[in-house]
Each structure stands twice: as C-alpha cells, then as structure tokens.
Amino acid sequence: MQKQAIFQSKLLPYALVAPQLAIVLIFFYWPALQAVIQSFLLQDAFGLSTTFVWFDNYIELFRDPAYFESIVRTFLFSFAIAVSSLSFALLLAVMADKPLRGSMLYRTLLIWPYAVAPPVVGVLWIFMLHPSLGIIARYLRAMGVDWNPLLDGDQAATLIILAAAWKQISYNFLFFLAGLQAIPKSVLEAAAIDGARPMRRFWTVTFPLLSPTIFFLLVVNIVYAFFDTFGIIDTMTRGGPGTSTVTLVYKVYSDGLLGGNLGSSAAQSVILMIMVIVLTGIQFRFVERKVTY
C-alpha cells in the first residue's frame, strides 16, 4: 500500500526519520547486538579479561536445573495467570454486556486497575496477605490454614499469581466487552428463536464468535506474565523463598546484578528474545487471519 500523492525532496525525509532512527540504533540495536555478543563470551571473576567460548554459556544454562525450573515456572505462572484472569474477566464482561442500568458506571469501576503499576500491585497484595499483619492472612489462620508465603514457596507462587491476575482483569474485561459488543445481535436472536436457552446460546454462539479475542488475549496475557510480573515479584518476594518465585526475567535481572554473571545473563536475554519473537509472530499471524469459526 502506497500513497499516490507525495512530496519530492532529497534531504527532508532523512532529517525527519533521523531522530527515531538514532534512538532506535543507539538504545535498541546496539544493546541487542551486545547481548548476543556477550552471550558468547566468558568473563573472569574480576572482569579483567574475556574469552570467546562459543555456546558454552548456553550449554551451561540448559544443564543447570535451576534454569530449567525457572522456564517451567514461568510457563506455569503464565498459564495460571492467563486462565484465572481471562475466565473471571469473561464472566464480568458477559454480565456487563447485558442491557443493564448503569452499565457505563460498571465499566468505569472495572477498568481502572489497568493503571496500577506492578510494584504497587505487589505492595497491595503482600500487605493483605502478609503472614504477621495481613488482614486476609488473619482470617486464613483463623480458618486453620498454615499461611506463610514468606516461608512456603507454593504459597508465595499462589500469591504472585493472584496479584498478577487481579491486575490483568481490567484489561481482559475491556477487550472481552468490545468483542461481545461486536457480535451481531441478530445471530443471538436467531438462536433464541430456535429455542436455545441463554447458557446454550453462550456456549454455541457467543463463545465461538469470541475465539479471536480469546486467542489474542491469551498471547497478550502470556507476554504480560513474562515481563510485567517482574515488579510484582520484586516487591512481594524478591524471587524467594529460595528460588520458588524466580521467573525468566527475574533470573536475567538477579544473575546479572547480584551474581555479576554477565555472559549467562546475556545468554538468558537472547533466549528470552527468541521466545518473545515467536510469541509475537504467532500473534501477528492470528490477528491477520482474524480467525472465526
């Protein structure tokens, strides 16, 4: 697709793209290239000399059970966050899509958590579920649950999944609502005339027609769980207890910063880049095809 009506100028277009090109080259391509190069290098303990080690950093990573665990953990987190947040948001969107009084107010009251930053989400949730002072933790203990996410890895993971899913409800709700409103009412009326009850109408008509939205949101939620959970994890558990809440992004951060293992951190970055490119590729293909049944 190209414009027919255009301007003629030799230098002006270059001047116009120059600022963005410069920023992208300096702050995007150069560091990305550095990450790739660094992933093939090994630095000695004092950072004085580096040697080219081919794929050693990568091989070591895949031999490291801790790395493998964090891959599995990241995918489990993503899956749990996506499924819980998507299903709850879909329920709310289906309800808000009905012709109700005050539906605009409902929308406003449900979408604002989108604007809450991940570290703040972490602070809000650790405060409610903090073992010694959390207001919900108090009730949990009263019910006989031995609640201590600061010591119990599974509980810490649950806490992070809950907080991350909570933040994502508003985003999913908004897109589900838009998807629902795009479904032609005539289709639903036809199903109603055929005698399909509301529940049946939802599963046989609405849900299939919503499949492109669901798929799109699934990918967005997974990418969200990969990256934006960093702030939540860092304020709530800092990867602990032990390594039970260390995700891939958190590991890149902590290995590079605390461990000072830059070669390994760079190799992890490169693997992460490849994962994101694959996810984005899948998303583009589906968005273009606009899958419906």
Partner: protein
C-alpha cells in the same frame, strides 16, 4: 431484543458488584492502612474503617518521606515520575509522527529498510536487553538523569506504526489542495496533518503516560541517587527486609499516591484511554 428476565438481570448486577468489590478491595485496604497508626498495623490489629492519621501521614509522606528506609519526600519522587512519563509520552509521539510522515509522504532510497528497522523494535521490550542498555547509558554518562530514564523507553515502534496507518487513510485530495495553495511539505504537515492527528495523538498520549508512569525495572537499575528515584522504585525501597521497621502507613500512602495520577487519567479520559489501548494493541 433477546429476552432478559428480571431474575437474570438481578444476578448480573450482583456478579458485577462482586467483581467491583474484588477489584477495589486491595486499594480500599491500602487507603485505610494509610490513615492508621503503624503500631496497630504491625500488631495485626488493623481495623477496616479509616483511622485518624490521614493528614499527618500524607503530609509526612509527601514532604518528608519515611524516617528509616528511603528518607526521600514522596513529592519529589512523584515529580521524577511525572517528568519521566511526560518525556516518554511526548518524546515518543514527536519522533514517531515525523518519521511516519517521512515514510508515508516521501519516496527516498532505503525508505522500506528504515521502516523495517523501526518496525522490528516492536517485538522486544527493554527487559530482554537490560544490561547492555544499562552499559550504554552509563557510557553516555546518562545514569541518574531524565534523559537516561526516558530515551531507552522511547526506542519502540508502536507509535510510528499507528501514525503510519492513520496517514494512509488521509485522502490524497488534501495534499493536492494544499499544494495548489502553494504549501510545501512542512507547511502541509503543520497546518493539515497535525490538526487531523489530534485525537490519535491524545489517545496515544494517555496510554504512553500511564506506561511511562508505571515503569519499574529500568528506573530501578539506572537511578542510584535518592533524589532521582521514581515513585515506583521508592515504594519498593520502603519495604525493608526486616519487617518490623517498615512504616506501613507511609508505604500505603505512597501506594495510593502512586496510583492516583494514572487512575485519574483512565477514569477522566476514558474514551481516549480505550481508544488508545485498542489501537496500540493492533
């Protein structure tokens, strides 16, 4: 209309209010905690109703900060966050709209190559190239500066793509007309294209402002001086590892203050927000 009996509507209202309660509860608790006494909270004796320390706590938070962990007034952190968010939003819109203009309205060698170079950046968030970017910013002596906070986050293609898409829908007749009026490329851009792009720019601004305000990992790495901290970084540093020392009312007041500007933007500019969100995700 499909039948919707009273009973079902009733259920819908109830489910929606339960949803709203779940969504709002953590924030309500945060607000309540910010008005109460720290000793009470630390003992796990917090009540579910507001306490009497509202003015005292918020005054101390904004103008003084915590007495133990960060000792930096949150007002200053908010200022840093505001500057960073504005730089990211305005900077990104400015550089993107002119490069999209060049790509759509001119033919020049390497035009498509440049388009692709920009386009690819869409795929990779700053997190995956964090340490090399840190090193470059350090080499450029931009640690602890607003430029260092904002520039690496400006390097992305979303806005360029959005403006490109929009420019493609602008009818060619407009350009012909302004050319007859004797307008050159810059004049056409300024007098015709910019006014037409106003809504798009506003929608984009809303989204970019929120994303900028909420940045965390990058500011965490490149700010070392306390007076350059953003509010998101500051709040994390307030939670000390030894729980006993955490000043929870101040932490919670900071959380509330950190939420206020972006939530305000979402609620007040809801139309633009929704539009921006949907468009940037395309």
């Amino acid at each position: 209309m499909v039948e919707e009996e009273g009973f079902r509507r009733y259920i819908a209202h109830i489910i929606l209010w339960i949803g709203i309660a779940i969504v709002a509860f953590p924030v309500y608790i945060a607000f309540i905690a910010s008005t109460q006494d720290n000793a009470l909270i630390a003992n796990g004796q917090m009540s579910l109703l507001p306490g009497g320390h509202f003015f005292e706590t918020y005054y101390q938070t904004i103008f003084v900060g915590t007495s133990g962990s960060t000792r930096e007034p949150v007002g200053n952190m908010m200022l840093n966050s505001l500057v960073m968010a504005l730089l990211i939003a305005i900077g990104k819109i400015a550089i993107s709209i002119i490069s999209a203009y060049a790509i759509v309205y001119f033919r020049f060698p390497f035009r498509m190559a440049i388009f692709w170079i920009i386009f690819i950046t869409l795929m990779l968030p700053v997190e995956v190239r964090i340490y090399p970017t840190y090193k470059i910013v350090a080499d450029l002596h931009m640690l602890d500066s607003y430029a260092g906070l904002a520039l690496p986050l400006i390097a992305s293609a979303t806005a360029t793509l959005l403006f490109r898409q929009f420019f493609m829908t602008v009818p060619d007749e407009l350009l012909e007309a302004s050319r007859i009026d004797g307008a050159g490329p810059l004049r056409f851009f300024w007098d015709t294209l910019l006014p037409l792009s106003r809504t798009n720019m506003a929608a984009l601004f809303v989204i970019l402002f929120i994303l900028g305000w909420n940045q965390y990992l990058w500011p965490l790495l490149i700010t070392t001086r306390d007076d350059m901290q953003t509010i998101q970084v500051g709040i994390r540093k307030m939670i000390t590892t030894t729980d006993a020392l955490t000043e929870w009312p101040i932490v919670m007041a900071t959380a509330v203050l950190a939420m206020l500007p972006p939530v305000f933007v979402v609620v007040v500019m809801q139309k633009l927000f929704v539009r921006g969100l949907v468009e940037t995700e395309k």
